[in-house]
């Protein structure tokens, strides 16, 4: 097996060596796309504490907030790298990825995904097309120095969307040496993935710079099936590969900074480009045959495919004067997404003359100002103002969301009071105003009405809406001996998105007629979280239960009716109650051997509306992990771990979902760090689904068309730091 992957790496390497990326012969690829600047990103390693739930700094970290927070450092990410950042972070209890293919996925926190959680980079909200269930995250995971995941309502700091929580990525660590750098080479057997990431950085007196580049290229991924059975239709697969799921990704970033005694500022420019194919035999939920010879090559990207470019410019500055810290963040983001497919006529739509089915061009401007004042030894007051302007333009022959622009303004105040060293309380309040303008949209083709007439049907009205929201949160932290207790209560919200307010037409991606509702209210959520944590030299235990109530959850309700030949779904609001917990226990059997156990459970139910009694879409099933971890030596230079991942049945579904049977898979990981002179090298090995089991993931996009999850996957990465 190891030989296979080494061979893959070697073959791909020689392939890369022989020809420049752009010139490789790719049979069905007609277009070349914007070449990403070869300047950019990456920091040099600043090794943090291990993510293990022990250690003093972890206790200090936990006492900083009554929210449920998890930190994942670079080392831990490296040991767990998968095809995408969201999948990599599935190691954190409560975090799941909704995946499409092997390298595109978006995260969910406690079952809340899409626009119900926020992803932020250095405190700035990442702005892509979060609403789409087949869209990825468009962030380069190799750029990330540290991830902080907040589980639970985080509207106070992040405004709209942070209902389920926040995934806060830190990419701004300053280099420590005059000159430093690193390389990371990754290979994966299942989709014959090869990735290379390189970064350099340096510091001279008060100035520093960082730059990095990453490339990745992967083939169609393998599943544990010779054919896919969907609506009694048989799709035969060649070599068990999911046709046309190959892809590639290029990333680049550059950062310049100044670190003074009282003033710190940095600016970072990054670009992420990816192109990946959609499974060729189905477009959305529609089975489709094509004349394209998909089986000619497993590495080519044919129609249908998606390509996205995300450009980001972030500026971050901090000024410290006496007991006051002033912070300013300014950012510009451009997310350009295109989805191409073979033009075909459907219903009254004639055959389009090009392949551009959809295009979204989103520009986001953000400016945040924050202030922290250390009023007394026991009291810190924070306040801030957030502003964001978004404009999303559309193009292409397939309509799914209208053009929109949204202006949001928010202001908050937050106070933290230390009653005793081991007892801290906090509370905050925030007000948000948002104004959204949805542009009208009419079909580009005519639809017959009555006997002898036809019209360009209007698919979205011109709508202007304003939203106000008052949110708050309060909580406490209490520490006694080995125990930490936390309680946090928070209200959060999100403003309805353009699709929810303005859609009135066929969603060709999933083949249904979606009707928006221009009178929807801002969605609100109340959540009560608790955290109980115990740590001694042998045992670490953590339990995080929560209850969550939505008075007006926005839900896309399937009906019995048809409009223009497709089932009608409409947006409505319903009361929803959810509860769940995460539990982790680790036990040090000997100083080298540790047993680990973690489990998570989540239940949701609609309490009112047309689907009263039903759950919510993409409900995360119960799961459990049991593992053993053996550390090689006292210096923690290496480890080997084995883990059983067990997932329960998911029978709580809503139309058009299917129930998903539970499964278990066996995984293993190992890594070892070697010193080479002053530098070090790290080799990490991961095997997922060792027994090559066939199973379905309830939250995978391809689940709806009965595609099983990837077969055995061996990943090897070699990193070198200098």
């Amino acid at each position: 097996m190891l030989a296979t992957i080494l061979a893959t790496v070697a073959v791909s390497l020689s392939l890369y060596g022989a020809m420049p990326l752009q010139d490789r012969v790719v049979p069905c690829e007609a277009d070349t796309f914007f070449v990403v600047d070869t300047v950019s990103k990456y920091d040099s390693i600043v090794l943090l504490d291990d993510v293990k739930i022990s250690g003093h700094s972890e206790k200090d970290f936990q006492m900083t907030s009554s929210q449920n927070k998890v930190q994942v450092n670079r080392e831990y990410l490296e040991d767990n790298f998968t095809g995408s950042l969201s999948q990599t972070l599935e190691i954190v209890p409560g975090v799941k990825a909704i995946s499409i293919g092997s390298s595109q996925s978006k995260p969910t926190i406690r079952g809340m995904g899409f626009n119900r959680m926020a992803v932020a980079e250095n405190g700035i909200k990442h702005s892509s097309q979060q609403w789409g269930d087949d869209h990825g995250l468009e962030i380069n995971q190799f750029e990330v120095d540290k991830v902080e995941i907040i589980k639970g309502p985080s509207a106070l700091q992040f405004g709209s969307d942070a209902i389920g929580g926040v995934m806060n990525l830190f990419t701004n660590y300053a280099p420590l040496k005059d000159f430093e750098g690193s390389f990371l080479l990754t290979g994966r057997s299942n989709n014959q993935h090869l990735g290379l990431s390189a970064k350099i950085g340096g510091r001279s007196n008060k100035l520093f710079y960082k730059a990095g580049i990453s490339v990745a290229d992967y083939a169609d991924y393998k599943v544990t099936a010779d054919s896919i059975q969907y609506y009694s239709y048989w799709i035969k697969l060649k070599d068990k590969r999911l046709r046309n799921t190959a892809g590639k990704e290029y990333d680049a970033d550059i950062m310049l900074g100044y670190i003074g005694k009282r003033f710190h500022t940095d600016i970072k420019i990054s670009d992420n480009f990816s192109k990946s194919g959609f499974f060729a035999d189905a477009h959305g939920l529609e089975v489709r045959l094509s004349n394209i010879d998909y089986d000619k090559s497993k590495r080519d990207i044919c129609l249908p495919y998606q390509q996205v470019n995300h450009l980001k410019i972030l500026s971050h500055s901090v000024l410290s004067v006496d007991k006051i810290n002033l912070e300013a963040n300014v950012a510009y983001q451009n997310n350009l997404r295109e989805e191409h497919s073979e033009p075909i006529s459907h219903g009254y739509m004639p055959t389009p003359d090009n392949t551009k089915e959809r295009m979204f061009n989103k520009n986001t401007y953000t400016a945040n100002i924050g202030l922290s004042a250390f009023i007394s030894e026991n009291n810190t007051l924070q306040g801030g103002i957030n502003t964001e302007l978004q404009k999303n333009d559309i193009d292409g022959w397939g309509f799914i969301i209208p053009t929109f622009s949204t202006l949001s303004l928010g202001g908050y105040l937050f106070d933290k009071h230390t009653i005793k060293e081991n007892f801290i309380i906090n509370g905050g309040i925030r007000y948000d105003y948002a104004s959204t303008h949805i542009h009208g949209y009419s079909d580009w083709y005519k639809t017959p009405v009555g006997w002898n007439d036809s019209v360009y049907k209007q698919r979205s009205e011109d709508i202007k809406r304003n939203f106000n929201s008052l949110t708050y949160s309060f909580g406490l932290d209490y520490n006694i001996d080995e125990w930490i207790f936390k309680v946090n209560m928070g209200k959060s919200f999100r403003i309805p998105i353009a699709k929810e307010l303005g859609a009135d037409g066929i969603n060709y991606h999933i083949f249904r007629y979606e009707k928006g509702n221009s009178s929807l209210d801002a969605e609100q959520s109340y959540q009560l979280d608790a955290g109980i944590k115990y740590t001694d030299s042998r045992i670490a235990f953590q339990a995080d239960p929560y209850v969550n109530y939505f008075p007006n959850y926005i839900y896309l309700n399937p009906t019995a009716a048809y409009t223009e030949g497709l089932q009608t779904y409409y947006y409505t609001q319903a009361e929803v109650f959810r509860y769940g917990f995460e539990l982790q226990v680790s036990y040090l059997i000997t100083s080298y051997l540790q047993a680990e156990f973690q489990t998570e459970y989540l239940s949701s139910k609609q309490l009112s509306g047309p689907k009263k009694g039903y759950s919510l879409p993409f409900s995360v099933p119960w799961s459990m992990d049991c593992g053993l971890r053996y550390t090689f030596d006292k210096n923690k230079s290496g480890f080997i771990a084995i883990n059983i991942h067990v997932v329960g049945d998911q029978n709580e579904i809503v139309p058009p979902e299917k129930t998903t049977e539970g499964y278990w898979i066996l995984n293993m990981q190992a890594s070892k760090r070697f010193r080479i002179g002053k530098n070090d090298m790290k080799v990490a090995l991961q095997i997922k689904n060792i027994l090559d089991k066939r199973y379905f993931d309830h939250t995978s996009y391809y689940r709806l068309i009965d595609v099983p999850e990837p077969s055995r996957n061996i990943s090897l990465s070699i990193g070198y730091n200098f």
Binding site: Y233, V585, G613
Partner: protein, 157 residues
């Protein structure tokens, strides 16, 4: 250690206590498009002449209450396919549509039906392109579950 055991027991008990009681009755079953007691029409790979009609005969069933159905006919001249049948029909050579037949109608099913037999004729226009077509049947139940059946047909001179 003992404290820990008590605590975890307490937590598990709390969660078991508030586990789902399933008090509401929810429909979790899809409706069916069947051939119960009849010979269905159209069936896969059948041919129909322009100017004639396609007899539509299918039986719809549901465990609770049927919703509505839709019939959509569109060309398959370029061979995209949605057939739900295992056999492949003989397709004509690929061609570009000039004046293809588009048929798309929604039909109601009487309320409170758990079984319904659809039986009527769809006239085939005289002036539309001959060739391979998809005959799609979509059926919902009251709860919003949907079943789809696709039949490949041919329209001839």
């Amino acid at each position: 250690m003992k404290k820990l055991l008590y605590l975890s027991t307490a937590i598990s008990l709390i969660f078991m206590a508030c586990g789902d009681k399933d008090d509401e009755k929810r429909d979790m079953q899809r409706p069916s498009i069947t051939d119960k007691g009849i010979e269905v029409s159209p069936s896969n790979c059948q041919s129909f002449k322009r100017g004639d009609s396609i007899p539509f005969r299918y039986v719809f069933t549901d465990n609770e209450e049927l919703g509505a159905y839709n019939i959509e006919i569109h060309n398959n001249f370029t061979h995209h396919t949605h057939s739900t049948a295992k056999e492949d029909c003989d397709l004509d050579t690929e061609k570009h549509p000039v004046n293809p037949w588009v048929y798309n109608h929604d039909f109601a099913i009487p309320q409170n039906s758990t079984e319904y037999t659809a039986d009527f004729n769809i006239p085939v226009p005289k002036d539309k392109d001959v060739g391979d077509y998809h005959f799609m049947i979509r059926l919902t139940d009251k709860a919003g579950w949907q079943e789809i059946k696709s039949v490949e047909i041919k329209i001839t001179e």
